[in-house]
Structure formats: structure tokens, C-alpha cells
């Protein structure tokens, strides 16, 4: 009875508010305390403000790269064709003054996005696994360098 009186007052001024409180009244049935309604409004407000507020994503540039084959390589002996046989086609070949370098590369990117009403934050991190083989002019392996950092890519905030 008391609710009817109040809703009549608001009906003329703000029909939207009326429908909102009417909905809450229906949900909580008659006799619900004001505290329950307040809690419900706060919860609904939080839900509506935080809807779709977070995103996580991951992307990969994949290349099969089995580093266990590195144990079989010997500088001064292994040839370029043996490296190609073990690791497949390189991502990039660089011509150097005294030979060539084969670069094998793959990457992992992780993205995080958060939207908070008027604020939005995004963070994207990309890390690589990379192996570089140096060959002399006779296509014999002279050096190689390995960086396996793709696993270090992480989700996070931009600050």
C-alpha cells in the first residue's frame, strides 16, 4: 500500500524511474525492505556499468622450431643444407659480406583490454623465439645464436 502511494508521485515526473522501481518491487515482492532494494539497484548498476569490461587475446605466428636439433650442430662442420633439413625453410635469409645468415622466428602476442565506463586500457606484448645461423661462403656453420622468449609474453595492464 505504501509503495503504491510513492509510485504515484513519481509516475507523473519520471516514468523511467517508476518502471525501474516497479520492476524491483516485483522481484523482491511486497514487504521487501528498502535495504534489499538499495542492494539490488547497486548490483544492477554495477552489472550495467561493467558489462563487457574485459578482453583477453592471444595470437601466434607459428613455425615448428625444434631446438633439440641444436645438439646435433657443430660449428665448422655442419652445412647449410643439414640445417635446412633439420629446421626447414628459414623465415629470412640475410646476405653478409663473408657468407649468409638464416633466421628462424616465431612469435606469441598477448593482449589485454579493460573498459571502465569512461576509461579504457589496453596492453599488448609480443615476444619471439628466434634462432640465427651464420654460415661462411662455403655454407659451413660458423656460429649460431638462440633466444627463446615467446613464453615470456604475458597479460597485463599498460601501467
Amino acid at each position: 500500500m505504501h509503495y503504491k502511494k510513492i509510485t504515484c508521485i513519481h509516475e507523473r515526473r519520471a516514468p523511467l524511474f517508476l518502471s525501474y522501481t516497479w520492476l524491483l518491487k516485483r522481484v523482491f515482492t511486497r514487504g521487501s525492505s528498502m535495504k534489499s532494494i538499495r542492494v539490488a539497484i547497486i548490483v544492477l548498476s554495477m552489472i550495467s556499468l561493467c558489462a563487457g569490461c574485459a578482453m583477453f587475446g592471444k595470437s601466434k605466428e607459428y613455425q615448428p622450431l625444434d631446438i633439440s636439433h641444436l645438439d646435433n650442430l657443430q660449428a665448422g662442420k655442419t652445412t647449410a643444407s643439414e640445417v635446412l633439413e633439420a629446421f626447414g625453410s628459414p623465415s629470412q635469409v640475410v646476405k653478409l659480406s663473408n657468407g649468409n645468415a638464416y633466421i628462424y622466428e616465431r612469435s606469441v602476442s598477448k593482449g589485454t583490454g579493460i573498459w571502465l565506463v569512461i576509461l579504457s586500457f589496453g596492453n599488448y606484448e609480443t615476444q619471439h623465439d628466434r634462432v640465427v645461423f651464420f654460415f661462411d661462403n662455403g655454407d659451413i656453420l660458423t656460429h649460431y645464436g638462440v633466444s627463446m622468449n615467446a613464453g615470456e609474453a604475458s597479460y597485463g595492464l599498460p601501467f
Binding site: I6, I9, H10, F17, Y20, T21, M34, I37, R38, I41, I42, L44, S45, S48, L49, A75, V94, K95, L96, S97, N98, A101, I103, V117, I118, L119, S120, F121, G122, N123, Y124, E125, T126, Q127, H128, R130, V131, V132, F134, T142, H143, Y144, G145, V146, S147, N149, E152, P158, F159
Partner: protein, 151 residues
């Protein structure tokens, strides 16, 4: 008006403002990082002494590799891009077929770089190290060109 719904009404108004305001004001901050932090060469790399093999075992595979004038150049690099944008607008398109909006953005790329030049024999000739990520974001973005090098 003595109304028991005063508190819920205030909450509803807050909720409506929170729902409507995102179309008017927004702030965005996006950071993109490529690569791990580049370790500073603390005396472990010496021009004329350090070999290519030693550098590869210390630093791993380089991020970039090229040949310049008969010398090999290895670059280890971490790139940090920061983009921030603020927009303030009044959405009037439903009423006047036009909207007023003003926005400002700043995009900054900073690089930590270790560049190593080698002779054709694979001996380190000279090196350059620069830690761009130490520059403060706003100072680097808003400062005049060359300000950072004057410090």
C-alpha cells in the same frame, strides 16, 4: 518532498549518468611492447676483443641483422609504443544532425637498443647502447626535438 526513494533515486541517477557519459567523455591508454628488456653492456663487451660467438652466447639471437659497408650489424631491441587519447563530445545527432566533439591524442614510440658492429672476421668493432624507455612519457612526447639530448 519526504521520499523514501531518495537514496535509490540518487543511485539510479548515478547509473544513468554512468551509462550516458561514456558517449561524451572517454580516456584511452594503450601500451604495446615488443621484445624483452635489453641488458646494458656493463664492461663485458670490448671493442677489438669480443667475438661474434661470445656476443651470441651472452645475448642470444639478435632482433635484426644486416650488413653495412662490409661490416655486420647486430641489433638487440625492445620497442615500447604508448598511445593515449582523450575525447570530449556532446552527442546531439539525434536532435540537430550534428555533434560537437574534441579529442586529443599522443603516440610515442621508445626503443631500448644495443647495436653491435663486427668486422668481417667477427670481431666487435664498436657498439652503441641507448635506453629510450628511461625517458618519461609526457616529457618525451611534449618536449621539443633534441630536448632529451641536452640533458
Amino acid at each position: 518532498m519526504d521520499c523514501r526513494f531518495k537514496a535509490p533515486l540518487a543511485l539510479i541517477i548515478c547509473w544513468m549518468i554512468g551509462t550516458l557519459v561514456p558517449g561524451c567523455i572517454s580516456y584511452e591508454l594503450v601500451r604495446q611492447v615488443k621484445g624483452l628488456e635489453v641488458r646494458a653492456p656493463n664492461g663485458e663487451l670490448k671493442a677489438g676483443e669480443t667475438t661474434l660467438g661470445e656476443v651470441l652466447s651472452l645475448y642470444g639471437a639478435p632482433d635484426k641483422l644486416t650488413e653495412i659497408g662490409g661490416r655486420e650489424l647486430l641489433i638487440y631491441e625492445r620497442a615500447i609504443y604508448t598511445n593515449s587519447q582523450i575525447s570530449v563530445g556532446i552527442p546531439l545527432s539525434d536532435i540537430f544532425r550534428m555533434s560537437a566533439e574534441i579529442s586529443a591524442y599522443g603516440r610515442l614510440g621508445r626503443y631500448d637498443t644495443l647495436a653491435l658492429f663486427f668486422t668481417p672476421d667477427g670481431i666487435l668493432q664498436h657498439l652503441v647502447y641507448e635506453k629510450g624507455s628511461d625517458y618519461p612519457y609526457l616529457k618525451a612526447l611534449l618536449g621539443e626535438e633534441g630536448d632529451m639530448h641536452e640533458e
